[in-house]
Symmetry: C2
Subunit: 251 residues, 2 copies
Amino acid sequence: MLYSIKQMAQMSGVSTRTLRYYDEIHLLKPTKTNEAGYRFYSTVEVDRLQQILFYRELNFKLSDIQRILSSESQSIQSILHTHYDALVEERNHIDSLIEAVEHTIAYHKGEIEMSNEEKFAAFKKKRIEENENKFGEEIREKYGEEAVEEANQSWMGMSEESYKEMQEIESELIERLKQFNQQKNQQKEDAKQIVMLHKKWLQYTWSTYSSEAHKSLADMYIADERFTQYYDEKAGVGAAQLLRDSILAYA
Amino acid sequence: MLYSIKQMAQMSGVSTRTLRYYDEIHLLKPTKTNEAGYRFYSTVEVDRLQQILFYRELNFKLSDIQRILSSESQSIQSILHTHYDALVEERNHIDSLIEAVEHTIAYHKGEIEMSNEEKFAAFKKKRIEENENKFGEEIREKYGEEAVEEANQSWMGMSEESYKEMQEIESELIERLKQFNQQKNQQKEDAKQIVMLHKKWLQYTWSTYSSEAHKSLADMYIADERFTQYYDEKAGVGAAQLLRDSILAYA
DNA sequence: AATAAAGGTTTACGTTGCGTAAAGGTCAAG
DNA sequence: CTTGACCTTTACGCAACGTAAACCTTTATT
């Protein structure tokens, strides 16, 4: 008993396109073909197709099904387990997504009035993520995992008040740097002050301060254009260079 | 402060390709472009990108994100809810998949020694599915939902013994049909016997037998090439036609 | 100022599993 | 001999980019 492609499709509930595709990728070949190229399937292929569809419903990729159907139970086992693990992980992922969407919905409803602290915490978290993406890799290489972790921890632990202080210190630092940058006769004392301010600012997140690390950081300021741009824009062109030199001299 | 595409990418942790793609689909355009075509982004785009990534992590499609970011909270609500429902459904689906894969694993381990009855049940289930795909629609139209349901039920309720009897009856039917088909002088009595056997065979699954339905079914035998092929192959060319005529005459 | 290195651009194919035409042969039936 | 019904191959479309090719700009270095 031979089935035409359409009969085969109707019997199994798939499209003829699917059968041609499976032929194309060598997943399921017809027993024979016509002189005209017509495909014909026997009961052997019907059974194989049933198996394919079984695994397909379990979300297996066709390439995996391919391997399953042409391998010993040994590797079938491992494929099944791998797939199982992937499914479990996916479920966990979706679970967390569901939770997150629930929160988002509640937030949009206005049901969750974010408190100031929560907003601040979210803000800090965002900053850390940004910094991680910006410099995380380089900094970890230079100062090690723990230093970075510690810095992030102290960031997250920082109160809104401390943050304001830190901001103010930075403002002063920049103001001084600006003036210093415009001076004709630059005073040693001014440079020292600036370095002090910068140190103070750093220590808000960098509990294990050392002058070595400070100098090393200063080098990065120049090496990385993003630092340079930041200070040059805020305190005038050359400010980053000036800050670096000052740190190297007086840290 | 303007960011180059690479800076933007590093800050947010996406690839430059992604940013170009988002530009291409009008999801995130740079604030300005160079004479040379270089893209530059401002903090506005940084924030928008953050939002995009937020929703992207929740598995939203980019087209949905597009709509979310450019619509009032009214439609945001509905998009969120739709997405939420989809996620829940997906989780349920995955849960069932996990269960199924567990079973499959156990089966492959040989832990589940399928009893004969279970095997038989699985076999019957498979037959029904095949039949549903083959003829389900047509038969439902002709005989109604209940008739089909009932037939399937009696199928599923059938014991292995009954099934063997049924098989034997079919064997005899086919044997008789074959001989009848080869006879020169076909005897009325032989035809009647054949119809009887077919009726008996039918009644294993068709508890509400009527000669009307039997005749109607006979017409289908000829109309559907799959029936025709089946009987012609088993009992010789012309057997299907013969069976039909007999049924019409003596049912 | 010339050159190398780094970064930018567009174009386009590959991925997964088919759906959906388009253009054109083949086969059984009237 | 002509319909239809069914078959074939070819090929674009989808989602969200990864990857590579070929080539132009900007920045850094000599």
